[in-house]
Symmetry: C2
Subunit: 347 residues, 2 copies
C-alpha cells in the first residue's frame, strides 16, 4: 500500500498528530522533532492523502476556473492570469493550491455539471469567466449553485462576466467598448456598417451589439436589420457572415465583428471577395488578442485587459485583495485604432 501518516509517525517515533502538525505548520513543534519528522517524510517519500485531509479538515485546496472555450486565447489568457495568482501560498500554511480550469464549451449544462463537481470537491474558490448564457431557467440554476457554494465557504468570483447578486464580479464594459469602436468608424465617415454578432443568447454578444447600436443611434444613423448577422465566436463564422453581409448589401463600407477571431475571418472573406481593407471596407474587432496586431492590415479593436482582470479576480478569490466596493468592478476597454479602419471610399 501507499505510505500513510502513521507510517511516517512510526518511523519518526512520534504520534500521527505530531506529523500532521509538522506538515501543516499550524502548531508548535520542537525543532528537533520537526526535523526527525521531515526526514522520515523524505525517506518514505510520503505524499499526503488529499481526500482524507480534505475530509478531516473540511477544506480543500482546489480552486476551479470555468471557461467557455479553452482553445480560445481570450479564455486562455484570463485563465493563465488567474492561475498565476492562485498557485502560490494561500490560506493554509504551505498552501499549495490546485488551480484547475474546466472547459464548459459554452454549454449551460456542462457549466452546471462542473459547478456541482466543484461543489462536491468542496472547492476553496471558483472563478467563472466569460459571458453568461441568457436563459432565465439556467440563470436561476447557476445563481442557486453559486449561492450554495458561497454558503459552503467557497469564494465565488466572476471575471469578464456580468454581475450577479451571488458573487463578486470583475466585469468588462462591453457596451462602452462597442460604442466607442463604432463611434470611431462613424467619425471616419462610415454610414453603412455591417455587424457580425456572437451567439444570440450570450450577454457579451448583446452588450457589444447594444453599444454598437447606441453609437449609431447617437449619430442619427438608422440601422438596417440586414446589417446584423449572428454567428459563433470563431473565424469560420466571421468568414461566412461577411459573405452573407456582402450579399445582403454590397454597399457596406465597414464590418464590425464580435471579436478579433471573427474579424480575422471577416478579413479573409473580404480579401477573397476582391475587396481591399480598409480602402474598400474597414474592419474592426474586439478584445485585442495577441495575433490581432499581426493581421495585415493590423486590426482596429478594443483592448480588454484580460491579464490584469484575471489576476485581480484570482487575488480576490484567494482573499488576497479586497473585493471592489459594492462587489462589482467594471473594467473599461481601450480603443486601439490600427490599419484595418480608414476613411470610407466615396460614394
Amino acid at each position: 500500500m501507499t505510505v500513510t501518516l502513521a507510517d511516517v509517525a512510526a518511523r519518526a517515533q512520534v504520534s500521527p498528530a505530531t506529523v500532521s502538525r509538522v506538515l501543516n505548520g499550524n502548531y508548535p513543534v520542537a525543532a528537533s522533532t520537526r526535523e526527525r519528522v521531515l526526514k522520515a517524510v523524505d525517506e518514505l517519500d510520503y505524499v499526503l492523502n488529499g481526500p482524507a485531509s480534505a475530509l478531516a479538515a473540511a477544506t480543500s485546496d482546489l480552486v476551479g476556473i470555468l471557461v467557455n472555450d479553452i482553445a480560445d486565447p481570450f479564455f486562455g489568457i484570463m485563465a493563465s492570469a488567474i492561475q498565476s495568482e492562485i498557485g502560490g501560498p494561500g490560506g493554509r500554511a504551505g498552501g499549495e493550491r490546485l488551480a484547475v480550469v474546466c472547459n464548459t464549451g459554452g454549454s449551460p449544462e456542462r457549466e452546471l455539471t462542473y459547478l456541482t463537481l466543484l461543489q462536491r470537491q468542496r472547492a476553496a474558490a471558483v472563478v467563472l469567466t466569460g459571458g453568461a448564457v441568457e436563459d432565465a431557467a439556467h440563470g436561476a440554476a447557476v445563481g442557486n449553485k453559486l449561492r450554495r457554494l458561497a454558503e459552503a465557504g467557497t469564494r465565488v468570483v466572476l471575471c469578464g462576466r456580468p454581475p450577479a447578486p451571488e458573487a463578486i464580479a470583475i466585469t468588462f464594459d462591453n457596451r462602452g467598448g462597442g460604442r466607442e469602436l463604432t463611434e470611431h468608424l462613424i467619425g471616419l465617415g462610415h454610414r453603412r456598417l455591417g455587424y457580425i454578432a456572437g451567439p444570440e443568447e450570450r450577454t457579451t454578444t448583446r452588450h457589444r451589439l447594444e453599444g454598437h447600436r447606441a453609437a449609431l443611434a447617437a449619430h442619427g444613423i438608422e440601422e438596417d436589420p440586414r446589417w446584423t448577422v449572428y454567428g459563433r465566436y470563431d473565424r469560420r463564422s466571421g468568414y461566412e457572415a461577411t459573405l452573407e453581409l456582402l450579399r445582403r448589401d454590397p454597399s457596406l463600407t465597414a464590418v464590425v465583428a464580435a471579436n478579433d477571431t471573427v474579424a480575422l475571418g471577416a478579413c479573409a472573406a473580404l480579401r477573397d471577395s476582391g475587396l481591399r481593407i480598409p480602402d474598400d471596407v474597414s474592419v474592426a474587432g474586439f478584445d485585442d488578442l495577441p495575433f490581432s496586431i499581426d493581421a495585415v492590415p493590423s486590426l482596429t479593436t478594443v483592448r480588454l485587459p484580460l491579464s490584469e482582470a484575471g489576476a485581480r479576480a484570482g487575488r480576490i478569490a484567494m482573499g488576497r485583495e479586497e473585493p471592489p466596493p459594492g462587489g462589482i468592478a467594471t473594467v473599461r476597454g481601450e480603443l486601439m485604432v490600427r490599419g484595418s479602419s480608414g476613411v470610407p471610399r466615396v460614394g
Copy 2:
C-alpha cells in the same frame, strides 16, 4: 451544516448504505426504494462529499492535464480535445469526471508540484502535453513521480511529448516535420535559411531543429552557425530573432520559425524591415494553428493533428481505447504549403 448521506437516508427511511448504493448504482436496490431515495436527494439538494467518497472508495474522479502554456492555442486545442473525451461517463457508474488543466508555464518545478498535487488527490489519470525540459535531474524526478503515480493506479499518458518508459505516449514527429518543411524550402531554391528555435532545453525545440539540419545536410548545404537564434515560443521572440538574423546575414532568403506564433512575429519584423513575403524572404511556421491560414500571406507550416492526438490521449487515459502497441504512437505532421513560401529572389 451541509446535507449528508445520513440526512438523505433518514428522509428516505433507509440506511446510509442503501443511499450510497442507489447513488453508485453498483448494487441491486428495489425500484421503489431507489425512487424514494432519489426523491429525498432531490428534495434536500444533496451533493456528495467528494473527499469523503474518494477516501472511502480509495479512488477519485479527478483527471489532470498538464500544459506548458494555457494561453497558447497549441495547448488549448489539445486540452480541449482531451477534456472532451474525459467529461463523459467513465469507470464508475454515473461517473462524471472532473478534468482539470494545470498550467506549468514551462517550469519544471511547477510541473513537479502539480504532479505531486495530483498524486495527493489520487487522480484517476494524468495527461502530460507538450515538450519536456531536457534536464537529467528533472527528467529523473518526473520519471519517478510518473512511476509512483502509475503504481498508485493513476493512468499516465503523454501527448505531444517524447516517450518515457513510465507512460504511454502519443508523440509528434517533430523531426520529420521539420525536415519536410525545410526540404520544401530547399526545393524552392533556398540556400540561406535562418532558423528561429524555441527555448534551448526543450525536446520540441531540439527535434524540430534536428529535422531542419538533417534537411540541410541531405542537400549538401553547410549551415552557418549565425543562422540559428534561440528564443521563446512567442511572437515577440520571433520578431526580435528575425531582426537579429537579418543583422547577422541580410542575404537570408528564408526564415524557418519554431512555431506559427513565432513565425507571425517574424513576418511582422520582415514587413517592418521593408521586406516582402515571400518575394524577398520566405517564412515557414509549425503547428498550423487556426490563425495561420489568416496571416497575409497565409503561412506555410506543418499541420499537427492536435485535436485528434488529444482526443486519443484522452480516450486512452480513460481506458476507453487500447494503448498503441509498444505504448508509443508517433503522429506525423502534414506539410501545408501556402503563400508565405516562394521561390527566392535571384542573387
